[in-house]
Symmetry: C2
């Protein structure tokens, strides 16, 4: 994009994202029915209401004696309530016995309350019973403490009521959510399919990772970084292969990829003029085409973004460190939206750590700087050592534990300044 004087104009990260989201109302990803074993981390495509009560009967939450609470009113250590043992509640079965006035039944945690009982006295508050095994020494117990109605009992439907909305559409399933679904008997659910993100590697010097190199060749590095980042963000990375930097070749594979993909990434394209070619291809394929060409971010300035047929296409810089930064800033927010994940600031957050910057780091105003840092413990403090190598070196990312961002209008970070490190 050029300004009125024909100069290339870069946009801010904020503006770039705004342009993408304004021009793209992502098509809904189709849903798919999956079994309970595959629940974890998938995103619900429908609200889930409970088909039944959980639990379906009143259960004891302690080991003790099921009682009619009114039989224990006023009980105290000096003045126990005496109750006859009516029997024992067997686990997993409906009790055949009934609690009549003046009686109690042995019950374990999770046992079903018998008719006539409305509370459970803990074994610790009963005399003449072995506190460890609930074995009885007599046919009568002494209750030393009153039980309120409902005490030590989970009522039928107290955890979940039939019809309750348990989990909302757009929720990502955590271990406890899968457990809750198992509890109410739901073993199949509808989730969103993982959005396909196509990775197109370009460059006449690029060869597959398994190749022996001839002079002038390098192996395809960036598609491995991208595939991992895409999978971590909930997408389905599909490597389309390595393609020559020619208009017809790239245009063809971009158009083909657009058919099945939710997002298309063009990585590399380092030969002269290729950056413009990528922008031209996005423009030529459809509307609105290229939305920005260059972003005020470092590393990652040559980033290209566009939309065709409601699908985002990104042209990524070739430098490895730029790949990570551009992914986190531009692609991940779009991808997350496409996964169907509901807006929630507290879910899927990246781990962070607070540290002190170990060295002065300069930055230019009007540019967002993403500094790779390695963390170091000094006593109880954590210090962040900036890794200042060229962004073309993959090892700068390997040595880093995370990234510190210097915002657009900040001129740098001083030694000792407190920073938030977004951990890899």
């Amino acid at each position: 994009m050029r300004d009125m004087l024909g100069r290339e104009e870069v946009v801010t990260v904020e503006k770039a994202l705004e342009l993408i989201f304004k021009n793209c109302s992502p098509a809904l990803i189709p849903e798919v029915k999956i079994k309970i074993e595959g629940f974890y981390q998938r995103i619900l495509s429908r609200d889930i209401c409970s088909p039944e009560d959980l639990p379906q009967f009143a259960r004891s939450t302690v080991d003790g004696f099921a009682v009619d609470s009114s039989d224990t009113f006023g009980a105290a250590e000096g003045l126990p309530s005496y109750l006859n043992i009516a029997g024992e509640i067997l686990m997993g079965e409906e009790p055949s016995l009934e609690i009549k006035k003046g009686t109690a039944a042995k019950i374990a945690t999770g046992g079903m309350l018998p008719k006539g009982a409305d509370a459970v006295v803990m074994i610790e508050h009963v005399q003449q019973a072995d506190k460890k095994s609930l074995r009885l020494e007599t046919e009568m117990i002494e209750v030393m403490k009153p039980a309120a109605p409902g005490e030590n009992v989970i009522q039928a439907g107290e955890d979940v009521r039939k019809g309750d909305l348990i989990l909302k559409k757009g929720h990502r399933l955590r271990p406890q959510d899968a457990a809750a679904l198992a509890g109410i008997g739901i073993t199949e659910i509808f989730v969103y399919e993982k959005p396909i993100v196509s990775i197109i590697s370009t460059g006449d010097e690029i060869v597959p990772a398994g190749s022996r190199l001839k002079p002038g060749q390098v192996r395809d590095i960036n598609s491995f970084n991208l595939a991992g980042l895409i999978a971590e963000a909930g997408g389905n990375p599909v490597k389309q292969g390595i393609f020559s930097d020619e208009y017809a070749v790239i245009r063809n594979i971009v158009e083909k990829s657009l058919e099945d993909s939710s997002i298309v990434l063009i990585s590399g394209g380092s030969s002269v003029g290729t950056k413009d070619m990528t922008a031209k291809i996005i423009n030529d394929i459809g509307k609105p085409g290229t939305l920005f060409h260059g972003v005020s971010i470092k590393p990652g300035k040559p980033m290209i973004g566009g939309i065709v047929n409601n699908k985002p296409i990104f042209g990524l810089p070739g430098h490895p460190a730029a790949i990570t930064v551009c992914f986190e800033q531009f692609i991940e927010p779009v991808l997350r939206k496409l996964t169907g994940l509901s807006e929630n600031k507290f879910r899927g957050r990246k781990p962070t750590v607070t540290a002190k910057m170990a060295k002065n780091v300069a930055s230019s105003s009007g540019r967002e700087d993403h500094i790779r840092v390695a963390l170091e413990e000094r006593g109880s403090e954590i210090w962040a050592n900036p890794i200042l190598g060229k962004s073309g070196l993959i090892t700068t990312l390997v040595k880093a534990d995370g990234i510190v961002v210097i915002p657009l209008r900040k001129l740098g970070i001083e030694q000792g300044e407190i920073v938030e490190v977004r951990l890899f």
Copy 2:
């Protein structure tokens, strides 16, 4: 474990972990060779040194002209250096041309430096060339800025030198690490197998998740929570099934599970006396047997821990909320060690968020309280609302966004107090 007066003694979380780690030097998990596609998140079982240089040749990091830097010394806008175009460097090929004094060659980002060249002048600092396409308008260029030796060049071996230690044993592979390995041509590596963690569900009232319930029965909830937590922590959860609360039955399946597993979990066991039975089984199977029986933590107090044949066995309380807390506190630290993950405070950290407590929460001294909280945004602030339901309710975990810990010697948290929330 009982003290000298025969009372049951609970231990602190710290002490419980100390007992486990003191009595267990985990056997090394076997390693397995995997292909590059499965790298992500696996843990290296060997150091990785590079078999070659990366890159294998000096590469340009910009679009411009490869030059002999001494030809540009003193160049300035008013006083350019004039250089003849010797030709163009093709991507992915060894240049056949050579840079002689007074000449330059067109080169793109990633191109191989020709003989005689030791620097690259950016296209932006060259006249008589189209800055966007590097097309030339003449056979001569004017260089407006001097290039230092090595400027805009990545030297052969600058990213990685042959023999360099790239990644250490015990490192968990992130996307950028897979990329670096691809770059140096490593497409197969040795990683630790995921430790098998057996889950034994016990209780006569427990039926599989897919079952229709009879009165008194509940579905197996906890094994789903545990399986998800184990997988997230890098383990391989194996559900052994649901077993009756009988000594011979449980002992048999524990012994069988110990054969293949690195950790054995006994979940549930809610009938009266079962907790003691679990401790007895661990003691009867081998040495040192049960190490603690009860921990000063809420929820999770009835937690049992032991070691047999150098393998940890845990008896877990039946309440769903206790499962999550006990897993995070006792099982996860042991499991992480068994995965082979090296000690690094900054890797595999859970996401956290700082919030203000929305209500007073009381706690007893001498007990570590794990409070489930739901987060709420109020303007720019985040508030943590404690979820105070019974720990037997799975929905208290479903409603929660994370957990706030009240340490052993703290008597509670006041409304408005700043807390750190460990997010699920």
